[in-house]
């Protein structure tokens, strides 16, 4: 054969290469690749877990934000409600106080009127009594006609005063 090409030696080279392939594949390539794939898988899982945790924390953050917003709205509503209640209570109290004041005032007016009437009545009675006693005294001292005239004057004065 040209260039010393020898089929037998080619086959021996091939046999040698096949043996080498088996050695390198089973002892080196496969275990190293398996380790690299295992590590890649592990890192992929770690990455996935980290992403999951990040998304979970994002979700929780959003949830808390919504809760905070809701709580803030609730607080505002409660505050508004409380303010309205306070205002209503204040108004009711003011109204009651005013009514009480009116009542006290009207009672006082009524009492004053009553006292006044009572005092006038007593004064009238006293005056009448005084007039009667004065008339009696006059009757005892003067004539009947003079006493009668005095009596009439005293009675006129009493009605004018009244």
């Amino acid at each position: 054969m040209p260039l010393n090409i020898d089929w037998q030696q080619i086959l021996l080279h091939l046999l040698n290469f096949v043996v080498l392939f088996a050695i390198l594949y089973f002892l080196l390539y496969k275990p190293v690749k398996a380790f690299m794939e295992k590590r890649t898988e592990q890192y992929r899982q770690m990455d996935e877990e980290a992403k999951k945790k990040v998304s979970e924390s994002e979700r929780l953050k959003e949830e808390y934000r919504q809760k905070l917003d809701a709580a803030e709205d609730e607080i505002t509503a409660e505050r508004k409600k409380a303010r309205a209640e306070i205002e209503a209570a204040t108004a009711a109290r003011m109204e009651r106080a005013e009514a009480e004041a009116q009542k006290v005032l009207s009672d006082a007016r009524r009492d004053i009127e009553h006292e006044r009437n009572k005092m006038l009545h007593e004064a009238q009675n006293e005056i009448t009594g005084m007039v009667e006693s004065a008339a009696e005294k006059l009757v005892a001292q003067s004539t009947t006609s003079e006493a009668f005239d005095q009596f009439l004057d005293a009675a006129k004065r009493g009605s004018v005063n009244e």
């Binding site: 260039l3 010393n4 090409i5 020898d6 037998q8 030696q9 080619i10 021996l12 080279h13 091939l14 040698n16 290469f17 043996v19 080498l20 392939f21 050695i23 390198l24 594949y25 002892l27 080196l28 390539y29 496969k30 275990p31 190293v32 690749k33 380790f35 690299m36 590590r39 592990q42």
Partner: protein, 267 residues
């Protein structure tokens, strides 16, 4: 090391280097048993220097190939038993080296052949490692005795044309298998379209590795050039074409494998 000691070491090294150089010039060359023509012809054809493999005379390249496989077997066993069970999630330097090598060929297969790459990754890893280590193997200068009783240094396995043809044709068969598995007869057609591929891959590799071997042979043949120059020629050239050839073959195989195994889209 202080300045005085360093200066003394440099002076001693320079004196030794000059002495050795003068020695080589004075001693001259011994009578060569082979002319440069014979040496180079033998490097190409391996017609004379045969090594006995269990009584069968074979090219020294085949012995190199088997030695490389042996080295790989010992290395892989040690790594499998002692290193891989102690792999850490954060890799150390050696673990990183192994992972980079495996990851590089795995990615090469995945990038060039996204549809079918499981076997391809393992194949290009083996082929790449074989070419790289096999090419660097010639640097170690392991010796073998020929059937004529001459001691020779073992060449790179792929500087033997039979080794190069084997790898080129096997790569073609791997590409063909990818085509058949993915696209049945259409895959065969796609692969056969590149009929020149096994020849071009085989002879490219053979030529590249042989040229390295020839340049090294040439340099070593002349005693005057064998002083200092082999450091550049031997180490740098060998290292470079070990890397380049490993990359070229694996990249081409992955590329064609990906092309023929790509599923046909029916419109």
């Amino acid at each position: 090391m202080n300045k005085k000691k360093r200066t003394a070491a440099i002076v001693i090294f320079a004196v030794l280097a000059v002495a050795l150089f003068v020695g080589t010039l004075i001693s001259g060359t011994a009578d060569k048993s082979e002319t440069i023509r014979e040496v180079m012809k033998d490097a190409v054809l391996h017609g004379q220097n045969r090594v006995s493999l269990f009584g069968l005379p074979v090219n020294p390249g085949l012995i190199s190939a088997m030695t490389v496989t042996g080295i790989f077997l010992i290395f892989s066993l040690i790594v499998r038993i002692l290193v891989i069970p102690r792999f850490k999630m954060v890799p150390g330097k050696f673990q990183l080296l192994l992972e980079t090598a495996v990851g590089f060929f795995d990615n090469l297969a995945k990038t060039n052949s996204p549809h079918r790459n499981r076997f391809l990754g393992a194949y290009v890893f083996t082929a790449g490692s074989y070419i790289f280590v096999g090419t660097l193997f010639e640097l170690f200068g392991l010796e073998a005795v020929t059937t004529d009783g001459i001691t020779i240094s073992l060449p790179a396995p792929l500087s033997d044309i039979n080794g190069a043809i084997m790898l080129g044709c096997l790569s073609y068969l791997v590409i063909l298998s990818g085509g058949i598995l993915s696209n049945k007869l259409r895959g065969v057609g796609r692969t056969l379209k590149e009929f020149s591929l096994p020849i071009s891959m085989s002879f490219r590799m053979f030529g590249a590795l042989l040229s390295g071997a020839l340049v090294t042979e040439l340099v070593y043949y002349s005693v005057y050039l064998s002083y200092g120059l082999p450091i550049l020629v031997g180490v740098l050239f060998t290292l470079l074409h070990a890397l380049i050839q490993a990359y070229v073959l694996t990249m081409l195989t992955s590329l064609f494998y990906g092309e023929v195994s790509e599923p046909v889209h029916k419109h």
